[in-house]
């Protein structure tokens, strides 16, 4: 049994255009990673995310951002070093989402030792819309970057 618990969490609302991108990346990664890595999808509720953090040694989160950057821009944040930049993720229904989950976990000493957030900049968050072309085109690159980051820390069973 591996002694570390690693989890990838794709975040977002599947029915709100580019907000789904985190989940689409997680879906593309599923089945292509070492078997000990759990792949999960969440809507972004802070308490649900904190439950996912429990007992995890490494958490990789993928979410859509809305910062005004060009659509499809991929950014990586090591949130063990600093909080997520403010104004990057403004899309939680009740303002109590990913950034709050990370900071609440940090305040409670429950932030996993490795915790990385990949943000894919969205263009359109319309209800029922598919991913916009620029964001759909960024999915494979985001998945590849995550795979490359995780591969070196593959744990022999």
């Amino acid at each position: 049994m591996p002694t570390v618990r690693r989890i990838i969490i794709g975040l977002g609302n599947p029915d709100r255009g580019d907000d789904a991108v985190g989940r689409v990346v997680a879906q593309q990664l599923r089945g292509t990673l070492p078997a000990d890595i759990e792949v999960a999808e969440e809507r972004g509720d802070a308490t649900a995310l904190m439950a996912r953090f429990a007992d995890a040694n490494a958490v990789f989160l993928i979410d859509a951002s809305a910062s005004g950057a060009p659509a499809g821009t991929i950014r990586r944040f090591d949130v063990t070093l600093a909080a997520l930049p403010q104004g990057l993720f403004g899309l939680s229904t009740h303002g109590f989402g990913l950034a709050a989950a990370i900071e609440l976990a940090r305040a409670l000493g429950q932030l996993p030792p490795q915790c990385v957030v990949y943000a894919v900049e969205g263009a359109s968050f319309e209800t029922g819309a598919p991913l916009s072309p620029a964001v759909a085109a960024a999915v494979t690159e985001a998945a590849d970057r995550l795979r490359a980051e995780i591969a070196p820390i593959f744990v022999e069973p």
Binding site: R43, T47, A48, A51, T93, L104, A107, L108
Partner: protein, 429 residues
């Protein structure tokens, strides 16, 4: 003329988007207006033309925090229209589902949204650094509330297992057993919550509120009862429109409600508690008394204690229901569509939630009307600000603004539900 201006663009720690404008002239509060700019959501309009059977799932989408309340007022109204009654174990399961929602919703507000006001923090994250044990307890309690929703509702948010006439699937007794163990922990945690919040400092402010809540002959109200008030109103849900009216104000996308001839009124935990104290379980009554609450409490800042007491009740009631549960023969009672009007009122965590429907003979919704608790409380929130803030005007701007926000949060307003909510403009003349 003395002039002081405080402006807050968006009020935090409330559900939805709104603002607040307080006008002060020569040291007196001249007006206090709550503006709600959350966009209208048109749920009543897009229920029209849909089947009565779809309504519990559509109305659940009005709120991510209290979807069960919307489902419950909806199913009772539809059953009223169709002339059926749901009793026994199915009714008990509805109450159990409601217990889950009260636990998770009250817990979110008490721990994450309101407690930081009393302890002097900007929010739950700052509070968590110095009150880690309390916040961990709150998160675990909320999780247990969510587990009830997941088991009975099919999932934690926007449950999908509620239908007119009952449920799609009912749990086996053995599925409820692990929940009972979790609820015993939750009941103790709720008692610890009452003691924790009772230790906060409360502004000494009271008003002669007209409280409005459901009252049932022998239950603390969730799902059924007469609509009663502290001024003697006692009506069935179907008479709601004869006694309550909604009116539009330019500053709000949420209609304001008032009692005809009696003006503003207050719904929610404080109203339920004052009108139903003797119907709380003995343990919840004892917890309230030990926290220094008399059977009547008119200080809205103490509503945080009342929410904690209601969490004790919800855990107690959930355990009672699980202990007595016998699986019903069928998950729902049979029904046949027919034309008619249906009325339903249940107690959402934030207060009375009224639904009215008119159905065509084939069960298609011809008219829908939904009056959420925050709509009903807007007038009372404004009156609280106008009455209480005058005593706090010697506070520095930042502290005064904070006191205004705390006063609004006494109501745990759900602006998203009401819009059809906060930014603060403080104009001191």
């Amino acid at each position: 003329m003395a002039r002081r201006t405080i402006k807050v663009d968006y009020l935090a720690r409330v559900e939805g988007e709104g603002g607040l404008k307080v006008v002060v002239r020569d040291g007196m509060v001249q007006s206090a207006e709550l503006s709600i700019f959350e966009p209208p959501r048109f749920f009543e309009a897009f229920l029209r033309g849909r089947s009565f059977a779809e309504a519990p799932d559509i109305t659940a989408r009005i709120c991510g925090i209290c979807p069960v309340a919307y489902q419950m007022s909806c199913v009772y109204a539809m059953e009223d229209a169709l002339g059926i009654r749901v009793g026994g174990a199915l009714r008990d399961l509805r109450r159990l589902l409601y217990c889950g929602e009260w636990i998770e919703s009250h817990c979110l507000h008490v721990y994450m949204l309101h407690a930081p006001d009393f302890l002097g923090y900007d929010g739950a994250i700052d509070m968590a650094r110095e009150h880690g044990d309390a916040v961990r307890r709150g998160l675990e309690l909320k999780k247990i509330g969510n587990e009830i929703l997941a088991l009975l509702g099919g999932r934690e948010i926007h449950p999908i297992n509620v239908r007119v006439g009952g449920f799609y699937r009912v749990p086996h007794r053995r599925e409820l057993a692990p929940l009972a163990e979790r609820l015993k922990w939750a009941r103790q945690a709720a008692l610890d919550t009452v003691r924790w919040v009772a230790g906060f400092e409360f502004p000494d402010r009271t008003r002669d509120y007209n409280f409005v809540a459901l009252r049932h002959p022998d239950e603390y109200p969730f799902n059924e009862g007469h609509i009663v008030s502290s001024q003697g109103l006692d009506i069935a849900a179907r008479d709601y429109d004869d006694h309550f009216e909604e009116h539009h104000v330019a500053r709000s996308t949420a209609l304001h409600s008032r009692l005809r001839g009696a003006g503003n009124y207050l719904v929610g935990p404080l109203a339920r508690y004052n009108l139903n104290f003797e119907r709380l379980s003995p343990l919840a009554q004892q917890a309230a008394r030990e926290a220094g609450l008399a059977p009547s409490c008119r200080n809205p800042y103490r509503s945080i204690i009342v929410r904690a007491v209601e969490m004790v009740y919800a855990c107690d009631e959930a355990l009672r229901i699980i202990d007595a549960y016998q699986e019903p023969e069928s998950p729902a009672v049979p029904l046949t569509p027919r034309a008619g009007f249906g009325f339903g009122a249940t107690e959402a965590p934030r207060g009375l939630l009224y639904h009215r429907y008119r159905l065509n003979a084939d069960g298609i919704i011809a008219e829908a009307r939904i009056v959420p608790p925050t709509s009903q409380n807007q007038g009372s929130i404004e009156e609280d600000l106008a009455s209480y803030i005058g005593d706090f005007l010697d506070l520095p701007d930042e502290a005064l603004q904070h006191r205004c926000e705390q006063t609004v949060r006494n109501y745990d307003p759900c602006i998203s539900c009401a819009a059809h909510f906060l930014r603060l403009d403080m104009d001191r003349g």
